[in-house]
Symmetry: C2
């Protein structure tokens, strides 16, 4: 898939078929995430992969979007490693870049994904469920699977609203 096709046709996928995600595709998504840029190349992102339905159900209990995490065959929890961070703003941006790489990778592989942020309200509980230590801070959860439908539309602001100045 072409870079621009990927960027422009990616949608937040919230309905998944029952089809499992191949291990190789999951590895490729994580690898794509890892090739994001970061300040000083500090790579502050860490991943926890949850395919097992029991743990996924526990995560699902921590968000109002539980249906999505119950239906998607894989959840990727993305953490910031405090021991690797150097600047909150820049590290959070880098993790956003990492997530975008993973969303584009999933889309290019014929999968769909959605970026769940609301679950951050229970970041500590997610860390506990996943049995992780305190230097890892939840940044997002991605639900990943084969899309059940491909008819999502989306919109963006027009450029005159976004381009605030030109010199």
């Amino acid at each position: 898939m072409d870079v621009f096709e990927g960027i422009y046709t990616r949608r937040s996928v919230r309905d998944f078929s029952g089809m499992p995600v191949e291990k190789e595709k999951l590895q490729e998504i994580l690898k794509a995430g890892s090739w994001a840029p970061s300040g000083l190349n500090n790579q502050p992102w860490r991943f926890a992969v949850v395919s097992g339905s029991e743990k996924r159900a526990e995560l699902a209990g921590l968000t109002r979007y539980s249906r999505i995490l119950l239906q998607a065959p894989v959840a990727i929890a993305v953490f910031a490693d405090h021991s690797a961070m150097y600047n909150d703003t820049k590290d959070q941006q880098a993790i956003g870049a990492c997530i975008q790489n993973m969303l584009l990778a999933a889309h290019a592989l014929g999968l769909g994904a959605v970026w769940l942020g609301e679950i951050l309200k229970n970041a500590g509980a997610v860390r506990d469920v996943l049995e992780l230590s305190e230097h890892l801070e939840l940044m997002a959860v991605l639900a990943v699977g084969y899309p059940d439908r491909n008819d999502q539309v989306s919109t963006r602001k027009m450029m005159p609203e976004l381009l605030v100045k030109e010199f």
Copy 2:
């Protein structure tokens, strides 16, 4: 360019040829940025494009990487619009996703770019130079142009260090 080729071969480009950047390519880069995902689709990113050498020189005076901003034909300053934001962490991540889209787009168009974060130490002065109002907060500056060389190498941590847990 294929999505994965884009992700894996993109490098931070800090040496630029004298060739100017076509207006259409610049527009495509900004458009690609605008198609990033954001929480509640709030699209908190705003762009200021600096092609003029006078303003670019003023920006260059605000970073230790002045050589890069003097040499690159275009600088894209990326701002967060406080009037559009709803959550600092999620909005900064969204802006990171937006920046990654722009870096991938530049690369796919045969251009090169580098993400400058160090200039955030002078965020207020950058806003003043660009004559922007206080609800816009500098998030990054991208230097964009045709690469003068294509031999940059980069490295990433191996997956066992990044994948902290699997269920």
